[in-house]
């Protein structure tokens, strides 16, 4: 079971490394914002899995806050690119 979760976390980290490479390369601002969005969704999943491994119920609250508030920054930057605000 421990080996299973090590493999899970490693594969998700590899996906996160690809998103980081896009964050470094990305030519426009939109690419970087998209990499930030994907990283935050990956982080929510990783935080829930870590909370399961640490056996504490309180740790789930952090990812709940991420799921509620994480999209406000992306929407603000998108409205700026559109010319609004």
């Amino acid at each position: 079971m421990d080996l299973f979760f090590i493999i899970i976390i490693s594969v998700i980290s590899l996906g996160a490394v690809f998103a980081i490479i896009r964050f470094i390369k990305g030519p426009t601002a939109s690419d970087r914002v998209m990499a930030l969005d994907t990283l935050s969704v990956m982080l929510i999943a990783v935080l829930v899995i870590l909370g399961f491994l640490m056996k504490r119920y309180i740790y789930i609250d952090v990812s709940l806050v991420y799921a509620v508030l994480g999209f406000i920054g992306v929407i603000t930057i998108a409205r700026y690119l559109e010319g609004g605000i």
Partner: protein
């Protein structure tokens, strides 16, 4: 491995602090200076929390999972300090950005070299 990880966290925190200090001292743009302040804040918070960490410990929060058992807990004092420091850092950032907007409306530039007279 544990010691190496601890020292690498300290090194990263000091590196972030030095990077923020470089931005505060050397950059000419006002918004960039505020961003440097934010980066410096982040490094300082990371250093404080890493100092209070004990290997194998759990969070200092009482819940049914830890009541009545023999567990190791990390130091709660740096965490409380950092919790206050994050909120105060946000207040400092908000005031500094408001001053940047006022300076831009007065002088029509954000370059710090072109703002010469101190009187508004």
């Amino acid at each position: 491995m544990q010691e190496f990880l601890t020292y690498s966290i300290y090194g990263t925190a000091f590196f972030l602090m030095l990077l923020g200090l470089y931005a505060v001292l050397m950059k000419k743009n006002l918004v960039k200076i505020v961003i440097g302040l934010t980066v410096l804040d982040s490094g300082l918070n990371l250093l404080f929390v890493a100092v209070g960490y004990i290997s194998g410990g759990t969070a200092p929060i009482f819940s049914p999972a830890v009541v009545g058992k023999h567990v190791i807990m990390t130091d709660p004092v740096p965490q409380a300090l950092v919790l206050t420091a994050i909120v105060i850092g946000f207040g400092v950032t908000a005031v500094a950005l408001a001053l940047v907007v006022r300076l831009y409306r007065k002088h029509n530039t954000t370059n710090i070299d072109e703002i010469k007279n101190l009187k508004w």
